[in-house]
Symmetry: C2
Subunit: 241 residues, 2 copies
């Protein structure tokens, strides 16, 4: 892990950009150390997503958490995969035509992304937890839900996760969902135009966790109400402190 830049935000949070091999990422740390850590997921394209992710990082820092994110494989400035680009184009065509999105397209798009992203997140976690300013425990929040599901199953250092049921889920992930045992808060935008509500409800049902909570709201895909940020903070504080 190599820090490439740093700046102090006006609320005292230290923001440091880093690279881990070819993976670019950002780490935000509050004043007090060592701080528990929240991994901030996003849909890919960290430059575009920066303002929203940074707002979540500031909120986390105000509650005493460090937080970090990395760019997803094939997104932002990272090398594109021809297969993923083709799958993404097929998906967009189906959505634009108002057709149901074939599971085969979802598998082609999401499964390779999960296969690559999860080891990257885990390697990032190794590097972050070796820093003196980062302690445990670790929470995961948001982003591509299939990545969150697999991390929740296979990364034992993640103690609780907030998942956003806002992207397509390969059928194979439903079996993995049954193996999730950590506390979950699942956010669902009830009238999410680009997502299948029933599939999201089926996934919530499938999670093996004895503590799992679903929060469904109106407002479309990007319209998650502001108060859910506070609810998320309280969920994390129940499980990470």
């Amino acid at each position: 892990m190599r820090f490439t830049s740093e700046r102090r935000l006006d609320d005292g949070v230290l923001e440091r950009k880093f690279t881990l091999g070819e993976i670019p990422g950002i780490l935000w740390t509050p004043g007090a150390a060592p701080a528990p850590l929240i991994l901030l997921g996003h849909p890919g394209g960290l430059t575009t997503m920066y303002a929203r992710v940074e707002a979540r990082a500031r909120h986390a820092a105000a509650d005493g958490y460090a937080s970090a994110t990395i760019e997803l494989p094939g997104c932002g400035d990272r090398p594109r995969s021809a297969a993923a680009e083709e799958a993404r184009a097929d998906l967009r065509r189906a959505v634009a035509a108002g057709e149901p999105v074939d599971g085969e397209i979802v598998d082609r798009l999401v499964l390779p992304l999960v296969e690559r992203a999860v080891p990257e997140w885990r390697a990032t976690l190794d590097a972050l937890l070796s820093l003196p300013e980062i302690g445990g425990p670790v929470g995961y929040s948001g982003g591509v839900i299939a990545i969150g599901v697999r991390l929740a199953v296979f990364e034992p250092r993640i103690a609780a996760a907030i998942l956003f049921a806002g992207s397509f889920v390969p059928r194979a992930l439903f079996e993995e969902a049954r193996r999730v045992a950590i506390p979950l808060l699942v956010l669902l935008q009830w009238d999410d135009e680009g997502n299948d509500r029933q599939s999201a409800l089926d996934l919530f049902d499938a999670f093996g966790s004895t503590e799992k909570t679903l929060h469904a709201n109106m407002g479309g895909h990007t319209g998650v109400p502001r108060f859910e940020g506070d609810d998320a903070a309280r969920f994390l504080s129940r499980h990470l402190t």
Copy 2:
């Protein structure tokens, strides 16, 4: 409205039992007046439910709210209705036999209850709002969801409602649900043994409110997690202050 007893709880809350005609009820008021008011619904049988309702009243008082509840028609010491008792027995038989509960049974049980209970709640509200220690605005929380739905539609003094999707809903109420326009927080116990999850999700979908939030949790019918009490308080504080 006639107060029949009063006592001061150890946290300074004043609890007064009252009758309004033949209807028994309880009013809890915090120190500061005039206080906004929360109507506390319950499934009927106020003596049996007292400990749980009183805990909600204390929580409300700690947040600065007055709260009140009344016994439901045909419950507690109030005169039984032969038709309602018969419908309740038919319902219990169907549930015990593991049969789907016929909509006709639900209609026989719930519709007359709603018809009688809603005017009683409204008359209680008239009486409560005439007391100097009670101000507006008014919230409604919990109890038989069909009563909450009709109150939300027809009682303009109720500014926000927390509904518990834990009881059977007559089909006719779904049409009424579309006319609900106030902010709603709907609680659903995902594995509620005595309730139909799909029907609860359909009802949430039907509500006309632009701000409606569903919180689903594990733990069976009576296992609503403690943290939902805090979430409920925050929902009410967003809409009643």
